[in-house]
Amino acid sequence: MTAARLLRHETILAILTVLALIVLANLSDKFFTAENLLNQGRLMSEVGLVALAMTFVIVTGGIDLSVGSILGMTAILLGVFWQNVGLPLPLAMVAALLCGTLAGLGNGLIITRFKVPPLIATLATLALYRGLAEGISQARSVRGYPEWFFYFGQGELLGVPFQLWLLGLLTTIAGVILGLTTFGRATYAVGANETAARFSGIRVDATKLWIYTAAGFLAGLAAVIFVSRVTTTRSDMGTGLELDVITGVVLGGTSIFGGKGTIVGTALGLILIQALKNGLALSGVKGDGTIVVIGVVLIAAILAGALFDRNRGG
């Protein structure tokens, strides 16, 4: 597979994104303002963080349906550790993040040790982690966080939302790891042909374990930012997040069969979705109408890609 081949989907997507931005900017004056764009960046940060790890997961040929539930569970634990257990908030944040990471590690262990297909393993933990969030919280929400905590979700650094810096930094790191390191090459190799990867001496299980653990960590990080942004903790946080994340990653050109995909593609996919959501809402399409458009765009983009591949004899 050549670099040109890998980049083709991203090029189409970039053109599509630019076109969408131009059309949307013409539809509404409010769309192409710094304030609106930065605010949209704030709103896509949680999905974006999780999508970074999901790109790796899908490149290995796997899937993680439990990320939304891990987000919910981490959010609930953050509230419980702080309010009910009485830990200082910074310590509660670390403890909750650790639990999110362990939840991801749990997924990885079930998938690698017991050879359970990722779709089923994470379907089970989707129910389990969300169930723990509901059971532990008993549907009670936690409020009253101190003022400094809201910096992560509402604060700004040099005029740009804090979480956008974080997302930018982690996107760069993820892009470098996937594109330029041996770990990244191993990730592609596992997804392209797991047996071949194993016989080539790649530590397949260790690679997967790291990736699912990272997904848990990033879902936990997204949870902290989510709680800070909305100032409250509820057990239904992040419900359906997995579908938004997967839509973004797949729209970004990552093949659901594994072995193919880039962080750049994922970033473009997410930007396109967020721009469509926001731009259409500003031009008067009701919130739920935009979901329809995203569904159509997802199918159309993949369909175009599939036809393109076939014409090239792929």
Partner: protein, 326 residues
């Protein structure tokens, strides 16, 4: 027993072969029986007619949707949009009913719509080779978003009494239960004894082998999705008519509940194995557990955690059994 052993080689009696073929179904059935015995002993009211009616009739639509889902998964695919489709069907049916159309049109037209939509989805999956999870993820957005923007979240009320098919009780048993049992039996026989039913297993087990054997895998997949639409349509009608109002939303994660019923019932996510008897039993088991928690005074908020643990246990046991069989 010894008599049977002489006719069956490798020392396996027909009875044990039967057990082996329906391993997962029997485990689920025994779990239901154990649950009734234990919870019934702790709290008599669990066994009351009212509660048993509520368990079976209230969840029949999930079991019926799981029949279609099982066929889809056996064929090697998946559908994450079925929850939204059920919501769309329910709203369509309710709208037709309150607009003065004859009730049979309000029942049949949405089912035909569901068949057409899912046949289209199946064709897209079969002929473009786009993975089913991607196509149905897109459909999930389209159906869910479409439903909420068309209804604007409004509820449908004042439904005509003759429209409420799920509340009818032929021979004293709720019609939803008749549908569940009847459709499960028909679908089980269909999958086991018809050419098309066998083709579903063949295509899911090994698509290239199926093609080499002269089957048309694409046509089979379109047929499976059309059938899945039929079952989802009936599920939608039952869902629409079980309460006096139709909300524009369905229970969250309904598609996952349906998929889970199929998987716990023994349908392998890898395709090629599983039965609809298993998925129906699993749907009943979930309903029993949900009800049991209430009667055992356990907070209902723990329900999902219990379900999650059960799925995990089932899957791990299944993997262990497979490894031993190898």
């Amino acid at each position: 027993m010894s008599n049977a052993a002489t006719t069956v080689p490798i020392g396996r009696t027909p009875f044990r072969r039967f057990l082996g073929g329906y391993g997962q179904e029997i485990v689920v059935l025994l779990s239901i029986a154990a649950l009734f015995a234990v919870v019934g002993a702790v709290n008599q009211r669990f066994l009351s007619d009212n509660n048993i009616n509520a368990i079976f009739a209230g969840n029949a639509y999930i079991a019926i949707a799981a029949i279609g889902m099982s066929m889809v998964i056996v064929s090697g695919h998946i559908d994450v949009s079925v929850g939204s489709l059920i919501g769309v069907i329910a709203t369509m049916a309710g709208t037709l009913a309150v607009s003065g159309y004859p009730v049979w049109i309000a029942w049949v037209a949405p089912i035909l719509f569901a068949i057409a939509v899912n046949a289209g989805v199946g064709a897209l999956i079969a002929y473009t080779r786009i993975p089913s999870i991607v196509v149905t993820l897109g459909m999930l957005s389209i159906l869910k978003g479409g439903l909420i923007s068309v209804t604007a979240g409004a509820w449908i009320t004042n439904l005509p009494a003759e429209f409420m098919i799920a509340q009818m009780r032929p021979f004293g048993i709720p019609s939803a239960v008749w549908f569940m049992v009847g459709l499960t039996v028909i679908a089980a026989l269909f999958m086991r004894y018809t050419d098309f039913g066998r083709a579903i297993y063949a295509v899911g087990g090994n698509i290239e082998a199926a093609r080499a054997a002269g089957l048309n895998p694409e046509r089979t997949v379109v047929g499976v999705f059309a059938l899945h639409g039929f079952f989802a349509g009936i599920a939608g009608i039952l869902f629409a008519t079980q309460l006096q109002v139709i909300q524009s939303t369905v229970p969250p994660n309904l598609e996952l509940t349906v998929i889970t019923a199929s998987v716990i019932g023994g349908v392998s996510i890898l395709g090629g194995t599983g039965t609809v008897i298993g998925s129906t039993l699993a749907a009943i088991l979930f309903a029993c557990i949900g009800s049991a928690l209430i009667f055992l005074n356990v907070s209902a908020y723990w329900l999902r955690a219990v379900l999650g643990l059960m799925i995990l246990a089932t899957v791990l046991a299944d993997m262990a059994r497979r490894r031993r069989a190898r």
